[in-house]
């Protein structure tokens, strides 16, 4: 059967008259993972090549001759079992070579699995203006070959089905709908996945844009001391600008941590105030503070929205304790002085560069430097 195939299928497809003339069957097939494939390479009789001198490679790796079968003087087959997922989305390169290594022909194999139902479809709207959605592929096998995901949406009780067009937000499996979204009307949204091996559709989610609103983090977050109280700091922030016009309520959350710690403490019951006092803090310690916002009651909606990102960290230090201060004036021999001196030197260097001199010297400036130092350490660690 395969021999007949070799004879019938030979068609002199050429790159040019000077390029090798051979044909591989099947050409560019799509195959399921774990399946088997028998491919044939048929070379033109005029080439004077005998098939028993030919060999096969897959992604540049020579395939063992035990997998070959000489079907005719000008036709060599290879059988592959238990195919693994393709190494690249452009397809695995199965190539037939003449004995001296020249390429006679090639076929690109697409080995993967049909898509499974996309899962975890979630959407959010930034300030009620747009809609972003993300999902996760239902299976792993579909990631080996090119699988197209189309996000579709329609108004629940009327309206035509529309497709999201912008998949280029930088993150995979996301789509962005920039405009023309109705409020107070539920949308039905789903994702269709398709590749050469099959199709699948996610469950449909229903949402009102107003129920999935998020916003920008609060701006102008300031942290400052409360007089000389050594265990307290006060935090002030502004309402996110985009929601000032139609936000009836917003709830906020604060988190703070010690400068040298990675553990955040969260203050939940901030309500809709734009300031908060943190108490029970350690004296003489730098704290980093962040605030985020959840828009609630947008246009009378009863549901809570989605928390914004955290604001950029702001820092402040609590005053030193009097008792500690009096005890700490005696430096340890050598060590404390050199550490302090080194730190001061770094601080002054930073002030000269970033704060245009020392005229505005204050504890606030020192705290800003500590924030900057923290960020720089993080960046360095990420690079390393």
């Amino acid at each position: 059967m395969l021999s007949l195939l070799c004879l019938m299928l030979f068609v002199p497809r050429v790159f040019s008259s000077s390029t090798p003339v051979a044909v591989i069957f099947p050409q560019d097939p799509a195959l399921r993972m774990g399946s088997s494939l028998t491919a044939t390479c048929t070379v033109s009789p005029e080439r004077g090549l005998h098939a028993n001198t030919m060999y096969w490679t897959m992604n540049g790796k020579r395939l063992p001759s035990s997998t070959y079968d000489l079907l005719s003087p000008n036709c060599l087959s290879v059988t592959l079992h238990h195919l693994n997922g393709s190494q690249q989305q452009s397809g695995d390169n199965l190539v037939c070579h003449s004995g001296d290594g020249h390429v006679l022909a090639g076929s690109c194999l697409y080995v993967g699995m049909p898509p499974e139902k996309p899962v975890n479809l979630t959407c959010w709207s930034r300030n009620t203006k747009d809609l972003s959605c993300k999902w996760t592929p239902g299976g792993r096998g579909e990631t080996f070959i090119k699988t197209k995901y189309t996000l579709k949406y329609k108004l629940r009780w009327y309206g035509r089905e529309r497709e999201c067009e912008d998949y280029s937000t930088g993150q995979r499996y996301t789509c962005y709908i920039p405009r023309d979204l109705a409020l107070f009307t539920p949308y039905e949204i789903w994702v269709e996945a398709s590749n050469q091996l099959g199709t699948a559709t996610s469950d449909v989610i229903t949402l009102d844009i107003l129920d999935v609103v998020t916003t920008d983090p609060p701006d102008n977050v300031h942290v400052s001391r409360v007089g000389e109280l050594e265990d307290q700091l006060t935090v002030h922030w502004g309402i996110p600008p985009a929601l000032k016009d139609f936000l009836f309520q917003a709830k906020y959350q604060i988190r703070y941590r010690l400068e040298d710690s990675t553990e955040w403490k969260v203050v939940d019951n901030v309500g809709n105030q734009t300031s908060c006092r943190l108490a029970g803090l350690r004296a003489g310690t730098v704290y980093f503070v962040q605030v985020r916002c959840n828009p609630v009651g947008i246009y009378g909606s009863r549901k809570a929205g989605i928390w914004s990102d955290w604001s950029h960290p702001s820092a402040a230090s609590t005053p030193h304790s009097e008792r500690l201060q009096s005890g700490s004036c005696e430096p340890k021999p050598g060590e404390q002085n050199s550490t302090l001196r080194r730190e001061l030197k770094q601080f002054f260097g930073w002030v000269r560069k970033h704060a245009y001199g020392c005229s505005g010297m204050s504890i606030k400036l020192y705290d800003q430097w500590r924030v900057w130092l923290q960020k720089s350490h993080k960046t360095r660690n990420q690079i390393l």
């Binding site: 992604n59 190494q87 452009s90 390429v103 280029s168």
Partner: protein, 227 residues
């Protein structure tokens, strides 16, 4: 009032028709000119220097482009890139005198463009949308188009009496007909390899041209200035 307007109308009609005709003639004239590149006269040395810098940039990017291409096609030996394919421009610059060689650079740039475009189209189907290969191909196409325009301008400035042949027409013979995926992979590699080699030659050529042509013109201009 209306009689006055009535008296005016025939004259207005005629002059309006004349204006319309003039506008149409102007549009036709502009349309015929717009197909050609509008060049501002620049000093010889600085124009060629700019083109040389652009060529070096495209060449540097073409090295990375070819690497990125090979990685995204999977394991491909150098053999694939050396396969012979019809109609892909060869990288050699031809001609004996500077005008012929400059023309050869220009026509080669133009000749590569539809192939770069074809490779981009093919790879758009083969690669994930986030692939950096696609943006690099697009950049190469745009920059090469820009280089061709620059060379065109320099040529017109240096050799105003020598005609530029009409631009090559994109047709069925300029890019290959539909290919299977393996052929597309090989084709793309051949195009980008030759493209890289071509740019290397253009870099050397522009350096030579700059010293040959601009020096000669400066000498000629200086001599003229004496009289």
């Amino acid at each position: 009032m209306s009689g006055h307007v009535k008296n005016m109308c025939p004259q207005l009609t005629i002059s309006q028709a004349a204006r319309t005709l003039l506008s149409l003639l102007l549009v036709a004239a502009i349309d015929s000119v717009s197909a050609a590149v509008v060049c501002r006269k620049q000093p010889c040395g600085s124009s060629l220097q700019r083109s040389l810098k652009l060529t070096k940039l495209i060449h540097k990017e073409s090295v990375d482009l070819l690497k990125t291409y090979k990685v995204s096609q999977g394991d491909m030996s150098e053999l694939f890139c050396q396969m012979s394919i019809n109609n892909v421009p060869d990288p050699n610059i031809s001609g004996l005198d500077p005008s012929e060689r400059m023309l050869s650079i220009y026509s080669h740039c133009k000749a590569f463009l539809p192939h770069l475009k074809r490779v981009t189209e093919q790879q758009t189907d083969l690669q994930p949308p986030s692939s950096s290969l696609l943006s690099k191909l697009s950049t190469a196409h745009n920059r090469t188009n820009g280089l061709a325009n620059q060379i065109n301008c320099i040529y017109q400035t240096l050799f105003p009496n020598l005609p530029i042949p009409p631009e090559p027409v994109d047709g069925p013979t300029s890019v290959p007909p539909s290919q299977n995926v393996f052929q597309q992979k090989v084709y793309g590699c051949v195009v980008l390899k030759r493209f890289k080699e071509f740019l290397s030659r253009v870099t050397r050529e522009l350096r030579t041209l700059k010293s040959q042509v601009c020096t000669r013109r400066t000498t000629f201009a200086d001599t003229n200035a004496l009289f």
